[in-house]
Symmetry: C2
Subunit: 308 residues, 2 copies
């Protein structure tokens, strides 16, 4: 799957991923009204609105991008119906040829991590059948519990040719509270990065490992160090756009081959029509605004990479 | 909710919680057969088997215990139908007067943590309605991303009188890989414990905080230290029984008032009938075996607490 991700990036010339993280207040009124008139102001109604909204965006941008990253929390907040919209979104994006990164940030003791891995990336045994639950291509995971919480994910990835992105240095303001603390002269995130590189050696694709890392665009200097510590690790970079990261901050996350990183934008793309810059598209044409925002993001990153 | 948990513990005289973490191979053949004959060897069939199995156990033990802790991964592995069984289990246990601790170990950047908090502990706004998604009483969360990933959970807990257990020192063998690393002379888990105590001050119940901690039974000496660092923090203690923790290891997790900790057992209770000790109950009477295992666990912990 890391090979397919890289192939998609080369084909689109766009090392970006669009975060499908819908909030109800992003969704245009005409979509909300239709869903609520059919299903009421219920979890089902909200889930239907999200799904229609996502579908509109994916139809408008799928030819421009290699991958999407639905954030499961934004669906989970609407309970079971929300999770059904998450699953529909995954299936639809895969049909369109997109790589799907499930942003689930799971992680637990061994047998429990194995259950998450099976449910999201693998197949669960039921009697004589093996059945996929959510079936994302990649999943994000949390390393706080150490190797025996990560290895069950790697095992399933090996079976299924799927991949991971392990949290190393997250994009949020207080990520440093624990991640930046100094251990034997180096911050915790570097020790985690080193482990990610080791874990990755056990499951290599052609050029990069199936085991990637998450490093926030908001910390470009740390990205530079981590790039060196993890040369064969693909880095998923959140925090571009709405969280403050800019194209120029991103160059150090990439290797000389122009690969090695994929930059995420969520709000900046899916709710583009709410920005002054794209307001002329109007709410009805929200998906066209998203398409333009994708083009502008690709241009911003290409320019930064060409100027380095 | 921390007050209700303590009230339930005093009423049952049992500082324990039963982990409802079903694996298909724990479930007696007669339950699996019935579910599969109705719904096939499908995710729906597996979910039905899990739900019937849980219901049998809860009916047999609910008068003896204060709380249950369903591990969402064990349901999530069966996709949407599995999560419906998770939700049914929560609702049923709450009807029985049990406190429900959702073992979800979520955590993300601010707005995303807020979505998880709303979905699991609060209510989501849909038009003019506020609707609960999963509606557990407590949730476990992961602190790797720092305060701004934890605070949105605390905010929802304040609104809803609900609570948290934050991972501090987990029960698994490789938990020390990062958690035990020394920072300014003290292990990371102590720094996290100190933060948990601080977070807890902002949301106090009568005797203890609504913000609890997870510390594994498998590390009793560390439990002793953490008990002192977090005097007003309730500690959820996994790792008893199947993972190797014994009653005598647990005394240091409790305060002098006999409170301050709640010990989890999962497999040791719900799959008791598979142990030699309880084999005489037979597979058909699996729930009676679980009831006896609960009584034995309460006895083991009471004896240890009385002998300290």
């Amino acid at each position: 799957m890391i090979n397919k991700l890289i192939e998609n990036i080369k084909k689109t010339n766009a090392p970006i991923v669009v975060g499908l993280d819908p909030m109800l207040n992003y969704i245009p009124q005409h979509i909300q009204k239709k869903a609520f008139s059919e299903l009421g102001e219920t979890l089902e109604g909200a889930a239907e609105a999200i799904w229609q909204y996502n579908k509109g965006i994916v139809d408008a941008i799928s030819d421009l991008i290699p991958a999407v990253k639905p954030q499961i929390a934004m669906y989970e907040q609407f309970g079971i119906p929300g999770l059904m919209a998450y699953k529909n979104t995954i299936d639809y994006c895969k049909e369109k040829g997109l790589v799907v990164i499930g942003d689930i940030k799971r992680g637990d003791i061994g047998s429990t991590s194995a259950a998450y891995a099976v449910g999201h990336l693998g197949k669960v045994q039921v009697g004589s059948n093996r059945i996929a639950g959510f079936d994302e291509d990649f999943a994000t995971i949390n390393p706080y519990m150490g190797s025996d919480s990560v290895n069950p994910f790697i095992d399933v990835c090996k079976e299924e040719n799927k991949g991971l992105f392990v949290l190393v240095k997250t994009s949020n303001p207080s990520s440093g509270e624990f991640q930046d603390r100094i251990i034997d002269g180096r911050p915790l995130y570097e020790w985690v990065g080193e482990k990610v590189a080791q874990w990755g050696e056990s499951h290599m694709g052609n050029e990069y490992s199936y085991v990637g890392a998450v490093v926030g665009a908001t910390y470009p200097e740390m990205g530079k160090t981590l790039r060196k510590i993890m040369p064969k690790t693909f880095i998923l970079v959140p925090g571009y756009g709405a969280q403050g990261g800019k194209g120029a901050d991103l160059v150090h996350f990439f290797n000389e081959d122009g690969l090695g990183a994929i930059v995420n934008s969520s709000r900046g793309i899916i709710a583009a029509y709410k920005q002054e810059k794209y307001a002329s598209f109007g709410e009805l044409n929200y998906a066209d605004a998203s398409r333009q925002a994708v083009k502008d993001m690709i241009e911003d990153i290409s320019t930064a990479l060409n100027n380095r």
